[in-house]
Symmetry: C2
Subunit: 353 residues, 2 copies
Amino acid sequence: MLAAVIHGARDVRAEERPDPTILTPGDAVVRVVAACVCGSDLWSYRGVAPTHEPHPIGHELVGVVEELGDEVTSAKVGDFVIVPFSLSCGQCQACRAGFPSACDVVTFFGSPDRQGLPVDGAQGERVRIPLAQHSLFPVGLTEEEVEARGLVPHLLTLADVMSTGYHAAVSAHVGPGDVVAVVGDGAVGLSGVLAAKILGARRIVAMSRHEDRAALARRLGATDVVAERGAEAPAAVRALLDGDLADAALECVGTKESMDQALSVVRGGGRVGFVGVPNGGPELPVGRLFTRNLTVGGGMASARRYMEELLPRVLDGSIQPGAVFDLELPLAEVAEAYAAMDERRATKVLLRP
Amino acid sequence: MLAAVIHGARDVRAEERPDPTILTPGDAVVRVVAACVCGSDLWSYRGVAPTHEPHPIGHELVGVVEELGDEVTSAKVGDFVIVPFSLSCGQCQACRAGFPSACDVVTFFGSPDRQGLPVDGAQGERVRIPLAQHSLFPVGLTEEEVEARGLVPHLLTLADVMSTGYHAAVSAHVGPGDVVAVVGDGAVGLSGVLAAKILGARRIVAMSRHEDRAALARRLGATDVVAERGAEAPAAVRALLDGDLADAALECVGTKESMDQALSVVRGGGRVGFVGVPNGGPELPVGRLFTRNLTVGGGMASARRYMEELLPRVLDGSIQPGAVFDLELPLAEVAEAYAAMDERRATKVLLRP
């Protein structure tokens, strides 16, 4: 089969690899209908996270179940499924509490599972899915129905990006009437805007310097756009809000600067939900949290859990989270997909095997 | 009047000072009925926070209003009041949101106010209270009634220690059915145990090595006691909870070690409420929060807000937060009060002017 393999900085190739097979009774094999490139894939692509040896890459997919191990009863062969970016058991304390990304045996695409068996990347034609009983999420439609209704991009976002934006908003306890600032205008930040709207925010301030992304943020629910950064950001927010700051901020980048900005634009007692993968920045300033009574929470999204809340909204057309995709390419052109995102020619690229 | 003044490490003296007077129309003068010594006062007493010049000390009091500025209508002369440890305006965004300790003009005992006018310490016979309109909290009883019913110690805790324990629990979103671990067996930790019980925790694990404090923790609502610290703490909690960890932890100390311990005893997706004044430790490990999906929130307590929730419980006798006091001394013996707490001969000392 064809699959994306990263060899090093700015070197992602579509290559032939062996087809995956069932290796344990808890596995499934899924044929990928669509995958995509994540902002966090760019950390390896840019060499910020070094690639020590070539490995398959990608962690977002929708597809059709082709084979099932004997123990998997949560889906049938032929089901159209979303697979969350983190594979989880559904049984441990973290899973039961609704945090499958902190599962005791959490397993990620492109790395060996807990038994040391290989797991493919999602940017490929087929993937073995360990922990399939809890990780497969059938959408209740056939592949033909999904395609005919144009749902592929929207469903694909529930595997990661939309769920991650939603996790930022849930972690920041966004609720009706809140004023929410969103730091980051990438696909996660844009999803965070939509999530804040779903959760009832009264006013949503997208912090963006890019005209096209700001326009998309407005389409997804942003009521205001602030271009200022750094020390100027809180002043700009105050100017917008009659001297007030935001009740909550969503940190959707993962750098020291973006966290600082998120902390600076919320009021005393405010909440910051963070989902940007922390990228080597210093740690959280505990004295500043203490003095301003701030709460910071987040991490990897509970995608598997949020699918249950978000799928009905996608199916009834009330949200269109797939709006974050602005380029679609065949899997064979995966190198161009990464380059387009790296060079900010695309916000998020959908790949079709 | 007599008042406590700190001169340097392990040097607190009861001294004669001028009686305070009304200096602005927003002031009150309160005659102190009881004050006490806080764990955070020990940072200065031990020289961890250096004392550059002698200044009055103490920030917890109950008393009787003696004089009022022209603008203060929230209390009458003769009212028995609790005064929160942080004085606040009640008007700014943080106050309106319920976080008076993050007030735009927050003012503390023993330091000049925002106009540069002196504010006495609470460990004295009288105090000028700026921002009195929002900061005085009349309890609706006369001094004689309060004394006759033995309510002084209980009401005094609402000025800081009980409100601070409650803030830890509120910041950790403790709710019905939760398993809560409390790190710290000082007066704040003990108050945190009681707070977790008030908020409906199913199981409360007091982390204590001191037999007497563990016994008091059990009286206040702890269901279990764990003596282990450091790397052994989470294992001990797991042993107690059939392999699980706590849903939430209350960090009531303020050191790197106590925060580490709090983070280590909660499950994936768990919440840590912190109220220990951060004492020079390193910052919060953001990568660890991310990987385990933890939420950390807290700071200085919203004592003024919690009085409204906690006073009825004190008045109807359903809680006895004054149980944290195990020594009462006259103000003239304030040096012994500090020494007793410093040497852990007392958990918390009540002072009578």
